[in-house]
């Protein structure tokens, strides 16, 4: 079991919006920059990796009850996005790594291995 707090420490993520549940267990992840795809396929409790920064990402994360959003390639979320994230208790983090790299490291930590995904389905 690994929590969001541990992930942030281990992967050196910069927390942009700190309201939300950081002790929550993270079981799986989802990577996509297409909102419709995230709405259709992500699962409750997933950590979402994207490069999108506009306020809609918070709406999607709230809708799907995602555990948090990691924005990649060192892109800064818009102010409006952070304001919404705080209201909705969605943790937002930033990394300078690329999506491929950060996912590789999350996977190394044991997040989202196929067996776990299979259990969820």
């Amino acid at each position: 079991m690994i929590t969001l707090k541990e992930i942030i420490q281990k992967l050196n993520l910069e927390v942009m919006s700190a309201s939300g549940d950081f002790d929550r267990e993270i079981r799986g992840g989802y990577v996509s920059d297409l909102l419709s795809d995230v709405i259709a396929n992500s699962k409750k409790g997933n950590i979402w990796i994207t490069l999108q920064t506009h306020p809609n990402i918070v709406a999607v994360a709230t809708l799907k009850e995602l555990a948090g959003i990691i924005i990649v390639n060192k892109r800064k979320p818009e102010d409006e996005t952070l304001k919404k994230a705080e209201q909705e208790n969605i943790p937002v983090m930033v990394t300078e790594l690329s999506a491929f790299e950060i996912v590789g490291r999350l996977y190394e930590l044991g997040i989202g291995r196929a067996t776990e995904n299979a259990k969820e389905v």
């Binding site: 989802y30 490069l51 300078e96 491929f100 999350l106 996977y107 291995r113």
Partner: protein, 123 residues
């Protein structure tokens, strides 16, 4: 990592280039945004994407992407395949989601885009 290993690791189907699986991809790049691919992809990269339109092919050509692997079971239509063929761009398709695809490739030693740059920065 050669394309054939990518195929095995991702349980992928080859759409174009079944006789070209020995070419080497040096870096992994996962994105559904064209601008990000253009901004960050290094020549010789393998692109993992959920987009299947014509512009993926153009973007790959412009960015010197070596091969594309479509994730989430998405298959491009004939128009896209034809364009990619004309540009000699190998294309694979995996049923796996993007997260699992990146994770498996990374675990098997394919590095990401940021890796070399960050290494450079840290000396």
């Amino acid at each position: 990592m050669i394309l054939n290993e990518v195929k095995e690791i991702l349980e992928a189907e080859v759409i174009i280039g079944s006789d070209n699986l020995k070419i080497e991809v040096k870096i992994g790049c996962a994105a559904d945004s064209m601008s990000d691919i253009l901004a960050f992809a290094k020549p010789g990269a393998l692109l993992l994407t959920g987009l299947t339109n014509l512009q993926v092919v153009y973007t790959s050509e412009i960015s010197d992407i070596k091969a594309i692997c479509f994730v989430r079971g998405k298959k491009p239509d004939e128009k896209v395949i034809k364009l990619a063929k004309s540009k000699n761009l190998p294309m694979l398709m995996t049923h796996l989601p993007m997260f699992e695809s990146c994770g498996r490739l990374y675990a098997n030693g394919l590095i990401g885009i940021g890796y070399l740059d960050i290494k450079k920065k840290n000396g």
